[in-house]
Amino acid sequence: MPHNSSARKHGGEHSDGGGSASKIQRVKAGRVSEDNEKKSSSKRLKDVEISVPIVYGTISFWLGKKANEYHSHKWTVYVRGATNEDLGVVIKRVVFTLHPSFSNPTRAVESPPFELSESGWGEFEIVITIHFHNDVCDKQLDLYHHLKLYPEDESGTQSTKKPVVVETYDEMVFSEPSESFFARVQNHPAVIVPRLPASFNLPPPESIDDMNERKRGDTNDHPLSQWFMNFSEADELLKLAAARQQVQAHIARIKRQMIVKFLGLDDRG
């Protein structure tokens, strides 16, 4: 069980008693992966995770009179900050992989906003590959989104005014981020960072993004922003809380039932 070991791991880290054993292990392991760690010269923050709420999806407009056999819809696929912040602080490049029938179906977008517009007639799955800045993460992240052009309800006639919008909320989680990454994004609105204790000193952030740059990448004034969906955490939490209350009430009732039944039995016996 993975949790078994993760629990074990944390036990080891926090206990002072078994220090000598774990130290040996640490040193031994350190030697092995020394080379690995040298190239990312900055230290990593343990037990810290940085998360970046994102929304990805497509908005598609029917072309109406202008539609022809092969270009019936104009659509835009994008990755945006959940509240339209500039994701350029974390994401270096987003590669959209379209259906092979498009000309050069692999399209890279190098700067925010990370979006791509096309026209076509068919729905298919778009692979969205996110590449991060060097100090963030050397791995990439794949998202999958099914392009939707036609509205769900059959009766609903297509209109050129009202687009079909499909969006997915998710969070990119970076475990054990490097110190420099942490320092850089600490106060950025697109990023959720945990609070570090005051005693902990981070290197001063390298000021790479000035105000101008930040302005450019957000999607607040995006022409499509009126169609963006809202993702409310509070609503979800309320719904879950209500459900939990219901379940707990049922648990309590069953327990009472059991007591009544078996105490009664007890008395008779």
């Binding site: 949790h3 020394e34 029938s101 068919g122 969070e171 939990r244 039995l265």
Partner: protein, 451 residues
Amino acid sequence: MDAKDILGLPKTSFSAPQEKKSRPQKDSQRKPDGISREVYALTGGFAPLMPSIDVSHLKRRSHSDKEKITWRWLPFTSSARTDNLLLYHWVRVVNGVPPTGDYSFAKYNKSVDIVKYTDEEYDKYLTDPMWTKTETDQLFDLCERFDLRFIVIADKFPSSRTVEELKDRYYTVSREILIARASSSADVAGNPLVKEPYNVAQEIERKRSLSMVLSQTKQQERKDSEVLAEAKRITETRMLEKSAEDAELHVTSPAGAENTERATIDVESVSPSSNNQLPTEPVAPPTATDGTSTPASLRMLRVYLRTNVLDQMVQAASSSAGLRTIKRVEQTLQDLGVNVKLKVPTKAVCAEHLELRKEILTLLNLQKQLQNKEAEASSLRDNSYTEIPSTPRRAHRGMDQDQSFIHDPLSFGGERVGKRDHKRKALGRFLEAPPSPPQSKRPRKFKDSDG
């Protein structure tokens, strides 16, 4: 206007889901000759199911009018026969000249080339304590007669020998003769008889296993596959554990390499702030009761999606439950109006969702237990005044918990530990519950009973 227009189908409907964008229609396929344009349009440019022939071939007379064809009942002989039996058949005769030559099917009369050995060769190479010369001769005669159909040969063989014994003798003799007659061993090295010698032991084993598999009953088969699945699960679990341990080593390594002291300080100073992950729970229970900690396998990835974590946690939490239970949990979620797929999977929402799932599992377990107890009780009532097991004690404990429940209205933060503690107790009760008697039907839903 064609059939597709009438049916209101798009022109290239069959390929629609795959072919997403324009494709060069013009040079796709040219209309073959001999098919009318309308018929071709109906096929939508697809290859016809049956090969279509050029109609002009049909119209053209293949035989010139000069040929006069008759069919005659004529005798024939076949080179495949050793007797001179004369049989008759119908023959196509062109211009009164019957066909000459051998019977056309005679060429299919293939016979196996069986090695022939002389007495001298036998004495020199082929003696075998298990076989007499007469027996070997008989074997080779039968081999020739039945074209190496060893099943038949074994049936006809005068002394009782198994098929494998016969095969072994035949192939050994053939091989020895081949080698003996070859000028050098390199000449025959490529011969299948030498290259792949017949292996009796393996053949016997092969047949034995085959018959074992074939004679297995359905039940055994099912049991086997269950065992295999279980084994696979165990292997996977071990792999995960191992990778988690590797991750642990990897994670602790950078500190160790540089200077251990500094690293330890880092760990201590950083951890209290670590998103209230572990410090709230000093002794992490072995099971995944901590809804917020991330599986090590994912943490190793450095970057992942929140939904990935949730999926893993859900899987881990339900790993002990059966498929049916998992289905029921999900059904319950739906009954409660909660999406199984989260709309806004933030950290808090995921944690709450996991808690909810756990509570539903608890509830389902309780329902099952209640039913078991009821069944137990009714059987007790039937043979009354027998000794009552330790039910009361348990019931009392249940009451304590119940009270804690009542005084514990739902809220998010704060009393987490207490609740979790409580839950562990509750789960413990399930564990100590006796193995359940055959279960009766359980109520599926409970939603309606809630006022």
